[in-house]
């Protein structure tokens, strides 16, 4: 479904700050698979997601989505089939637009029929309410309010809903619960799992949380220094707990060690 072939990316080549962020990364992902990715800071996790999303041109390698080589497609075109959530809960919604307008923007853009001048009507408004209700945040009664008034957790929930309003082929989550309070983080994680399961979306999730990395999905990749150093799935993963994963992480990362945040948050 998603195939990454020998992707490399060096930032600031030829300068003292040259940094090899991705070093010949390859992996294959089956349709409907949910993969979690862990790695220490600077391991290349986010860079990998950005490369798949097309945020910058890669130096070499290919990204193939559903048999189509999208390596040279601009970011905004790739986002038709790839949804993405960031750590910053404010990044996925337009604060000056109301909840309804944010949803209308995404809805009208993805709709097969219609033109530049299409607007939403009563039916769509009702449909938005129906989609907001399962979030259980009361947003369905606040359609007219600017999104800027919502809390981080509420905005991240809305972002998740927007990203999956039309289920994408691939959903990429970049530590999307890390900046939220524990309660909101758990709620967003539950929502994520539900939405991904219901719509059978393939999902790549970067996390710093060992617990989360094992609880969600069916396969875990460990990254270090721009490479995938371990790929755990099946029985091996089923028999794993946080302690074992941490050990594995330490070994896989060579002399490197898990940073405090990873151990503390597990």
């Amino acid at each position: 479904m998603l195939e990454i072939i020998n992707i490399s990316k060096t930032f600031l080549p030829g300068t003292v700050n040259e940094r090899k962020a991705l070093d010949n990364v390859s992996f294959r992902m089956e349709s409907g698979e949910f993969i979690t990715i862990i790695g220490s800071n600077g391991a290349g996790k986010s860079t990998l997601l950005s490369a798949i999303a097309g945020a910058f041109p890669t130096d070499s390698g290919k990204v193939i989505l559903d048999g189509e080589d999208i390596s040279s497609m601009p970011e905004y075109k790739r986002s038709r089939s790839i949804g993405r959530l960031f750590q910053d809960p404010l990044s996925g919604t337009a604060p000056g637009l109301t909840i309804e307008e944010n949803m209308a923007l995404v809805y009208l853009q993805g709709k097969k029929t219609g033109n530049f001048f299409s607007r939403i009507g009563k039916e769509e408004r009702e449909m938005f309410r129906e989609r907001l209700r399962p979030l259980d945040l009361g947003l369905e009664d606040r359609l007219e309010q600017p999104v800027g008034l919502l809390s981080g957790g509420q905005r991240q929930a809305l972002t998740l809903l927007l990203a999956t309003l039309y289920p994408p082929k691939l959903l990429m989550l970049d530590e999307h619960t890390a900046a939220l309070d524990p309660g909101s983080a758990e709620r967003i994680m539950t929502l994520t799992k539900d939405i991904v399961r219901e719509n059978r979306i393939s999902c790549l999730m970067v996390t710093h949380n060992m617990r989360q990395a094992l609880d969600a999905g069916s396969r875990t990749l460990i990254m270090n220094a721009g490479k995938i150093v371990a790929d755990i799935s099946g029985d091996e993963r089923a028999g794993m707990d946080v302690g074992k994963l941490t050990d594995l992480f330490r070994n896989a990362a060579g002399s490197e060690y898990a940073n405090d945040r990873m151990i503390l948050s597990s």
């Binding site: 949804g83 996925g92 337009a94 000056g96 923007l105 530049f116 001048f117």
Partner: protein, 301 residues
């Protein structure tokens, strides 16, 4: 007195599209587009030149593509060639000076003497003192109605979100560059149409008639916001419209009372704009020490 009010209203309506144009570029897209001055003159030059040649209506219509072209050039400089928006506006403006002279037949001004303007034609249809006012009001009213409808369409929402959170817009598979292009073209059209109307209304256009139009437009926009608030798009549009009229009333007041020498009005305008843009910023910086002060006051009480 009645004549003063009428003149203030006429000029307020004539210049209102400039304030609406700045509402779109400055408030919605968050781009300080300084193409306004040159674009305004281009609209006036095209319109008056055509009217002088006996085609006043065509002159008004031709101002539309002329304005769109100004916006397009400025937008391309910004999005495709990475020139900072303020500089892109200034560059476009500088180039427009020669273009405007060319449109005016390499003269620095053109006058309509006996030739018809859209206003003289309209007066034949609807005679009376208020004939000009009706026509002058019709233009910004149509633009404002169009804008308030447009802002809730797919394209309008995309343009608004582009100024608000471009990352989100790209994530929704919308090309932000083409939204900036569309927005600035619309904004250019409004400015040029205003120039076209003012030119034919005053039966003259001058190569320097655009000087300061952008700052006056911003002053109008801000005054309107002060009165109506910035909450919704509709209020913003109504505010730009209202601010434009208020400004001309202040102008008329100053002109007739000689409270401030009329020559100093641009200085006053610049002052108003600088202060009103500065105030929110200064207020924000002062927020930090305030809670402590409040607590003390609370304790005293």
């Amino acid at each position: 007195m009645e004549r003063i009010i009428r003149t203030a209203l006429e000029l307020g309506f004539a210049y209102a599209p400039v304030a609406l144009s700045l509402f779109l570029s400055y408030r919605i897209l968050d781009i300080a587009d300084l193409t306004t001055d040159g674009c305004f003159v281009l609209g006036a030059a095209v319109s008056v030149r055509m009217a002088a040649a006996g085609h006043p209506v065509l002159g008004m219509l031709l101002a539309i593509p002329a304005g769109a072209l100004c916006g397009l050039v400025s937008a391309e400089l910004q999005t495709r060639f990475g020139i900072p928006s303020i500089l892109a506006g200034i560059i476009t403006n500088t180039g427009l000076y020669s273009i405007n002279l060319m449109v005016m037949g390499w003269r620095s001004n053109i006058n309509l003497i006996r030739e018809d303007s859209i206003f003289s034609l309209f007066r034949k249809m609807i005679p009376g003192n208020y004939s000009d006012l009706v026509l002058l009001a019709a233009i910004p009213v149509m633009i404002a109605l169009f804008l308030s409808y447009f802002m809730h369409t797919r394209l309008g929402l995309s343009i608004r979100a582009t100024g608000d959170n471009p990352v989100m817009v790209r994530a929704s598979s919308i090309d932000t560059s083409s939204m900036i292009r569309t927005g600035l073209m619309l904004s250019g059209i409004m400015t040029a149409v205003s120039g076209a109307a003012v030119g034919q209304f005053q039966k003259t256009t001058d190569i320097n008639s655009g000087t300061g139009v952008v700052v006056i437009g911003l002053a109008c926009l801000i005054m309107g916001e002060t009165v109506l608030g910035r909450r919704s798009v509709r209020k913003g549009i109504a505010g730009a419209f209202l601010g434009s009229v208020i400004y001309r009333f202040i102008y008329a007041f100053v002109f007739y009372t000689q409270l401030v020498p009329v020559q100093c009005l641009k200085l006053l305008t610049a002052f108003i704009v600088a202060v009103s843009i500065a105030v929110p910023h200064v207020r924000e910086q002062r927020i930090q020490p305030r809670p402590a002060q409040k607590e003390e006051e609370g304790n005293d009480a």
